[in-house]
Each structure stands twice: as C-alpha cells, then as structure tokens.
Symmetry: C2
Subunit: 579 residues, 2 copies
C-alpha cells in the first residue's frame, strides 16, 4: 500500500502490445508497434471487412465538480475496466492523452494511480507516440503560413502573386485569430509581440501562445471519423479574417494538405494496457472548456468492435465533459451511451460542503480524515445535481464512491442512500486504487446491470434549434441557471453565425469546471443565478460554436516549485519523480 | 528516369526493419520498432557483451562550397552505401535528421533522390520517431523554467524560496541567452517580446525563437556518448546569467533531469533503410554553422560495429561540416576517419566559375546544359581548395563527380585531371541518382582503395592550444584567410572563457557556407582577406566555443510560395508533393 505509482507500474508484468492487440482480436496488419509496449492501430481497420461489427456497451465516466482533493476519475476508469475483467467481461478503456505542460508543472502524471493504472506510465505521461507534437506542428505551420502571407503581400505587387498562381488574401493583421501553441506551461507566452526586428523579420503583431491541447487541431483530431474527414476539417479551420471581415481558412492559405500530412500518423489511436493486461486506447486530449474534453471518436469506434464494454472518460464534471460527450462527441459519432459512472469521494464532497481549504504541502485538515456526517451532508447537493444532469440525458447513472482508508461505513451509507433516492441506478464503494480490478468488481457488476436497463438516451437539443436557444438550454437544464445574459454584441455575433450557415452546429460551453455556475466560488448546487456569455467564437473545423462564460486560461503557468524539479533519470534509464 | 523521387521510393520493395537489423547482426532485444519500417536501436547495446567490437572503415562525405544548383551530397552518401553493397561490402549510412522547417519551406525532402534514397522517405522527412520534437520540448521546458523563476522571484520574499528548499537564482532578465525553439520556418518569431499582459503573465522581456535544430540540445544529442553523458551535458547548458554575471545552468534551474527524461528515447538512433535494403542510421541534425552539423556519435559508434564501411555525411562544404566532423565530432568520439569523399558537379563548378545566376522557376541558362570547359575551369579553384583542406587533415580524398545527363566526357576529364593533380587519391564519375548502387560501384571501388591507404589523420589543433589560436588556425589553414580580426571585446571574452576553464574546448566556427571566406559573395578560393570575428559564445553543454563570423540566421522564413502548398494526402493515405 505504501508503494508509489511508479513503483507499482514498474513491478507490473507487461505483455507485449502485439499480444494485447491479438487478444482483443485485431490482426497484426493493423498494428504498428512503437517499441514493445505501445502501438498505433490503423484507422483503416474501420473500413475493412475484418471489422467484427460488434457494438460493446458504451460507458462514460464523469465526476462531481472538481475539488483540490481530486476524485480519481481516471483511476476509476481504469479500475472499472479491470473490474469488468474480473467478472469475465472483455473491456477496453478509452482515455485522453495528457498534456506534458501539467505533468511538469503541478499535476504529475495522469495514467491513473495505485493498482489501477495505464502502463507504461512514462510513455503515457511523456511523448507517447508524438501525437501532441504532431498537433503542435500542424497548428504552428498554419500560424507561420498566416504571417508569411501577410509579410509577402505587404512587400510585393499583386502581379507577382498572380504569376505564382496565388490569390491575394489581404489578411487583416489585427484580426488573426490563430495564435501559436506549445505543449509546455509557460505564462510568458500568453501574450507576445511577434515580428520585431528589421524589415526581413515579419509583420509586427500582438499574438499569443496556447498550450497545444487547446489547439483546434486537437479538437479536430478528437472528432474526425477518418482521414478524408480530418482533411476537410483542417481545411475549414479559420485562421484570420481579411480586411473585408471574411474568414481566411487553412484551405485558403494552401496549408491544409500539409497539416493533414503532419497529422496522418496521429490519426491512428494508440494502444497501451492496464496494469492487469487489458487493451486501452489513449488518443487525443482536447481541453474541456474551450474544446469538448473527450478522447477520440476513432478510438471509440474501433473499441466498440473489440469488447463487451468500452469505458471512456470525459473531462471535469458532468456539466462540462459529459454534456459535451453527449451533445458533441456522440452527436458526431452516432454512438449511443448505455450508462454513466459518476465518481465521487467522501473527501471531495466534504470540500463541497464547505470544508476547510486544502493547501498543498500542508497536512490535510482533520475534517477530511475523520467521520463528519454533517459536512458530508452539506456537500451532497453537488452530487445530486450531477445525478440530475445525467438523468436529463436519459442514461442510467451509477455512483462510484472512490474509497479512502479514512472514510467510514456511515459516510458511505449516507452517500449511497442520497444517490439512490436521487435516481441513481446504483451507488457502489470501489477500492480499485488499493486492490486493482478485484476492488472494482462490485462497481463492474453494478455497471453491467445499469447498462442492461432500457436506454432512453436523447441529445439535449436537436441540430435545428438556433444557437441562442442551445446556449440557454445548456445553461438552464444542465447548469441550473435561471437564464442567460448575453453581453453586448454576442447576440449579433450569433445572428452572423446563423446567417453564415453555422447555426446547425452544437455549442461547446467554455466555463469554469469548479462550479456548476460560471463562478468558481459557488460550490454545491448554486441556484438563483444567471449565466453571462461574454463572447462567442467559432471552431469551424472542429464543428462547434464556443461561447465564453468568464475568463478561460489557455496557457497555464509553472508554480514556484514546478513538478519537473523532482523528475530525473538514473544511469540505466530508470525514470524517477513521475507520479 | 522521369519518375519522381516519391514514385521511386514508393515502388521500392521495403524490407521489414526487423529484418534489416537482423541482417546487420543486431539481435531483437535492442530493436524497438516504430511501425514496420523504422526502429530505434537501444544505445545500451554499446555497453553489452553482444557488441562485436568491430571497426568499420569510416568514411566522411563532404562537398564543394554549396551553390543554388546543389551537389547531391546526401544522394551520394546513400549511393555510395548502395555501391559498396554492389561490390560485396556491408555498408551503413549515418545521416542527419532534417528539420521540417525547410521541408515545408523551400527545400523539399532531404532523403536523397532518384535511385539513391533513404526510405520510407515520408518518415525521414516528417516526424520520424519524434526526436526533433523531443529536442524542442526539452529546450522549451528549460526556457519556461527561466521565465518562471524570474517571475516567482520577483513576486515573493526570499524566505518563501528557502522554505521550498530553493536557492535564489537572481537571474538578470536582460541576460537570458536561451531563446525558445520551434521546428518551423517562421520569421515572425525571430524577435519577440514575451510576457505582455497583466501581472500574472510573466516577465516582460525581449527574446527570440530559433529553429529547433539550432538548439544546443540538438548539438548535445549529437555529441553525447550515452545517457549519463547526455544528463551531464544538459545540466551544463547555460540559460542565463545572474545579476553578478555568473552563468545560470539547467542544473541550477533544477530542470536538467526532466530535460533528460524528455530526451531518453531520442538518444536511441533511428534505423531506416536505403532503397536497396541496407541499414541506415538517421540520428540528430544540428545546424552546421552555430553548431557542428553532424549526425550523432552514438549512431556512428554503433554503426562501426556492424559494417565494413560506415559512410557519414557532414553539413555544407569541407570548411564547415567536415572540419567540425574532425575537430569536434571525431575529437569527442575517438573514431578515426579513413577517407573523405568530396562531392562536386560540373554544374556547381560552373556556378563557382562565375556562371549566370540561377533563378528558381526560370529555365536553366544554357551554360549549365552545354559543354563549357572555360567556365568549368574557372570554377575548379573551389574544388582544389577543398581537396587541400582534406589533405591538411591527413586523410585520403576521393572526388565524386555526381553526373548529370548534360555533362560531357571532356568536362569530367577536366575535373578528374585537376583533382588528381591536386592530390586526390582518385576522382570518379558516379551515376547513382539514375542507376542506384550500380552507378556508384566505381566510386565504391575507389573509396575502398583510398580507405586502405595508410591513414595519417591528425586533428587541426590539440586541446591545449588557446582559443584565440584555435580560431586563427581554422581561419588560416582551412579557410585560407591571411589572419583574423577580432572585434572589440572578443579577445577579452576569450580570456574570460579561458579563465573559467573553457579554454580546452574546440571551436565551432559560425560562418557562411557559401564561401570559404566570411563573405558569401566571394566564390572560388578567395585570397587576400582576413576573417572578422564579431562575437564569441559558449555552448557549455555541447562542449564547444562558437565564434560568430558574420550574421547567421537561426530562424529561416517561408518564401512567397512555400513548398507546403504542394503537399497533400489522398483519401487512402498516400502523400503527395514531398520530394
């Protein structure tokens, strides 16, 4: 029990990834090994006669609103897959690839933990097979194409471009919406001035860097169904406006083909394994605020053919990643979910109930380590609100109470009762962190049962509803707002988007994850508030409109003592300090 | 003959890379496949009992001073390996990995051409196995660490850092020498202002981006002998100075361990194959001006154990990449070269002779397509100067005349005669571009013969000579200068470097590649000039001092019609427009 995650991961007997793929039923011609323990699976398998055309039960993992104490959503995803294995089911996890920014910043690894992990955890947390690097390269090539075009058009006569067979794009340097990206936490790059220097050094502009997983290219990777779809979506990406205000796309810049070439291998999902030897796809990792926060459609489409259960995790709480899982990812893929697992911990619920602040490095206050039914009760409304959100989509909910050794039976019972009264199909204590799949066998049985209930899944809104109404529907029916306040200009912008033919797109709400509302300070299940929408933006390639409800940081910073300081490597290549 | 490079590459019957490694004699435990046609070879093989402890003949490929017409150095490297195969020798090529910046900018691919190529050429020219991305990630993590430290130290009292167990670094924001890097041609990033925005957004500083292959991390990758050596070198990298003027290293920043972890897989050389099925290492690709322009030491150390001949290419002409190959790479690795192949074309020599300018997109002037012995004769001094440089290192030179269909026998004869008179061991016409290995069989025989001559290899200067004298030695004995003019402050800076213990390092001259002098306009073999040294910088991790002799661009720009415009992909995944 006192072993670190990396020690547990290292003691695991890994199977060669070719064996894992073989056991799933995928024949070698589709498997590209990247070293012995990771592989890419060719997406063309989806079009081949070999595809079994099976349809696994499709399970989404979500959680209550995040707290500094963590809920263990990834751990539960992996634990459930292992638990399903223990009860004799073929199960596959579909996870997002984490950004290296937080890995070296504050968070450490994201491969699960304890006896519920994806291995090799170093690969999971570092470059993996380079997909995020491919996203950065494709994105930044497009950004360079914008500045190069502004630069050359400012220097040469139109006749010169005619001779080259190029249309004048007349990009407005003040309306370049595409920044650049880097997969590192680097606050100094949030706002930059580029093109300083001399006459040869490009157009002087104010610009920005986002972390790579915030790139629209990442959202596109997660939503593309195949290569031609990827190519089309990248071509539709809007990088800037011309001086008339018309969008300039990657296609207009002539760079969409090269971007797709840079992404051709990234499009193939990565196969790794759980610590108990089950295949797990790790593919794409878009932000869960300005993007939709879910792993790739291609991985899920493959996975459902090779398992009884596919377990896939969405970012943040059910108001964020899960809502987008349904309304954006399932809408695009056509896959229908069979059950949702809502992860909660007694500790995190106490935090929602108003428990004392948790300070990293300081000992945990006693409220979190001793029985405190009062505090726990005060935190339940957040759990119940999330159960309510799930039921509004018509999908059975199973609450997973991720156990800590300091929890008491009475505390678990309180949570269980409340959850079932609120309409959860079941609520189960799970100890996969300490006990691996064995510890999640009860959860697995509950999920199996819930997933066999009749499904009444429905999207929150049809495509045809106007954008304004879509935003209001999410705000009221998911977040519990009384209504939406659109700031100046937003309604006009929504009208423009409708006119230009983007009205049928779903909306991807960019909101804080820490509250069901837009205000991170409002814990529990806030009532009597209205959602402000400050701005609305278009992700034409990804295929959604994203309203901004508050300030969203798309480039994190490094803390005073970054996690990278603990990371090192022994002479034999053993990595230390990743956790 | 009219097939494009990509068509020829695609028609080649590739062998599985495991088979290639097996044929070389490398057992499977050291081979990490990345897909079916590329692999990483574990550097730990160098320490294993399995290593054959053989020592292949070690051949360097260089060229005359580059011209817009190209000389075909990479093509000749691959062709020679194929040619050696045809005469019954085991041969391995060791190449640099190209940057994607030029690939999508102006140059197209760099995998050779015609029937002398490295395949798969798409992988060679794109991400390969992600090594350059790893270099970028490690470099940029260090850069982010610098700004994060400046930011936090400006905000909190020293006692706070004491509590965190951190020493105050007191970095001078005006003396941060480390920029950031990106593997893209993007002139807008040459000079940037970072840290704009609000109080939370980092220190406001002027900074820059270089292309990733100009990163010191890339030079370190190329020069490291093993993982512990890599770890030490990265730790020594100087990122900034503190306010007293003392260097602040990656070790001081606590980031060297994490950087090494990011580089642990990049340290393993990549194995690909020639179009005729011989193993080829592709590993590291540092700039050949501010860095030493050679592929990795680890790949060469491995390769010499698994071949009769190892053929390795250095950047630009013999004054640049080859001098650094000897004085930096061989000095560090201890490997001793057996012969040098100097590549020249009749066309390029005519350009050196004062032939008309070549304009991309315009038809080639007739001088280059018809016999013109006068013009060719005027261009010979450049060839002869390079032969002289090679002979100064005591290594036999073979001139490879890379044939074009428009060359005439008389032209070849003129070059051959002059080369042999100047001391070349041989001069051979080679048609590997059109005929593959068969076309380079004569060259292979000449190289075999030259490499069996007694070797008198000597470094240009011993470690103990002062830095100033090292610079003068290279300027006078290699470039043909009459002397060196050190600009104001440079001599003092050299003294400081000597005092600080860096006096034993070799020098890595940052000079234009287009002339033997510092002035790109001076073609042929200029005489009567002095080399100006404007500035001198330290690469403490790579282990060299680099004097700047003129302006060196470390971030290229995109042209008006970038090469990416031709690149696209078919629905089945076939790449078009890479060449």
């Amino acid at each position: 029990m006192n072993k670190s995650d990396i020690e547990i991961a290292r003691e695991a007997k890994l199977k060669p990834i070719s064996e894992i793929a073989g056991a799933m039923g995928i024949s070698p011609q589709w498997v590209e090994e990247y070293g012995k323990y990771k592989a890419k699976i060719d997406w063309r398998l989806l079009k081949s006669a070999e595809l079994p055309q099976k349809r696994a039960k499709y399970i989404n993992i979500t959680a209550i609103s995040p707290t500094p104490l963590g809920e263990g959503k990834t751990t539960t995803t992996v634990g459930l897959v292992q638990g399903l294995g223990k009860i004799g089911k073929q199960a596959v996890a579909c996870l997002r690839q984490p950004s290296m920014g937080p890995t070296f910043g504050i968070k450490g690894g994201a491969a699960g933990g304890g006896y519920s992990q994806i291995v090799p955890m170093e690969d999971f947390n570092l470059h993996l097979t380079g997909d995020i690097h491919a996203v950065s390269a494709a994105h930044n090539l497009c950004a360079a194409a914008v500045d190069a075009r502004i630069y050359h058009e400012s220097r040469w006569a139109p006749s010169y471009f005619e001779k080259l067979g190029l249309k004048i794009l007349d990009i407005d340097p003040c309306r370049v919406s595409l920044g650049r990206v880097m997969d590192i936490n680097d606050r100094g790059l949030r706002n930059v001035m580029t093109g300083l220097g001399g006459r040869e050094d490009g157009p002087l502009r104010q610009s920005r860097f986002d972390i790579s997983v915030a790139s629209e290219v990442m959202a596109i990777l997660a939503l593309a169904r195949d290569l031609p779809d990827l190519r089309k979506r990248l071509g539709r990406m809007v990088a800037a406006c011309n001086k008339k205000g018309d969008p300039v796309t990657a296609e207009d810049l002539g760079v969409a083909g090269a971007m797709t070439v840079l992404m051709k291998d990234a499009l193939k999902p990565n196969l790794l394994q759980t610590i108990e030897g089950q295949g797990s796809f790790v593919h794409a990792g878009p932000f869960a605020n300005i993007a939709h926060g879910n792993s790739s459609i291609i991985a899920d489409l493959l996975a459902v053919n090779y398992a009884d259960f596919v377990v896939t995790e969405a970012g943040f709480g059910s108001d964020m990643g899960m809502e987008k899982f349904f309304d954006i990812k399932c809408r695009t893929s056509g896959l229908v979910p069979d059950a949702v697992v809502l992860v909660a911990t007694v500790r995190a619920l106490k935090s929602h109930g108003g428990g004392p602040a948790v300070v990293p490095g300081k000992p945990l206050p006693p409220e979190y380590k001793e029985e405190n039914l009062e505090l726990l009760k005060k935190g339940l409304p957040n759990l119940l609100a999330h159960i309510g959100i799930i039921s509004r989509f018509g999908v059975p909910a199973v609450v997973a109470i991720n156990a800590f050794p300091t929890d008491t039976e009475a505390e678990w019972e309180l949570v269980r009762d409340a959850a079932i009264k609120a309409g959860a199909a079941d609520a189960v204590v799970t100890t996969h962190w300490a006990n691996g799949g064995e510890g999640a066998a009860d959860l697995a049985r509950a999920v199996e049962k819930a997933a066999s209930l009749p499904s009444h899944f429905k999207l929150l809104y049809p495509d045809e509803v106007p954008l304004k109404q879509k935003i209001e529907t999410v705000a009221v029916r998911v977040y519990g707002a009384e209504g939406v306040d659109f700031e100046k200009g937003v309604l006009k912008e929504l009208d423009t988007l409708e006119e230009k033919g983007y009205g049928k797109l779903p909306v991807c709400m960019a909101k804080t994850q820490y509250s069901l509302s837009h205000d991170p300070a409002l814990k529990g299940a806030p009532r009597g508030w209205r959602l402000p929408v400050r701005e609305v933006r278009l992700a034409a390639g990804a295929g959604f409109v994203y309203p901004l409800c508050g300030a969203i940081t798309t480039m994190p910073g490094l803390p005073s003592r970054p996690a990278f300081m603990d990371v090192d490597i022994d002479d034999d290549g053993t990595v230390r300090g990743l956790f």
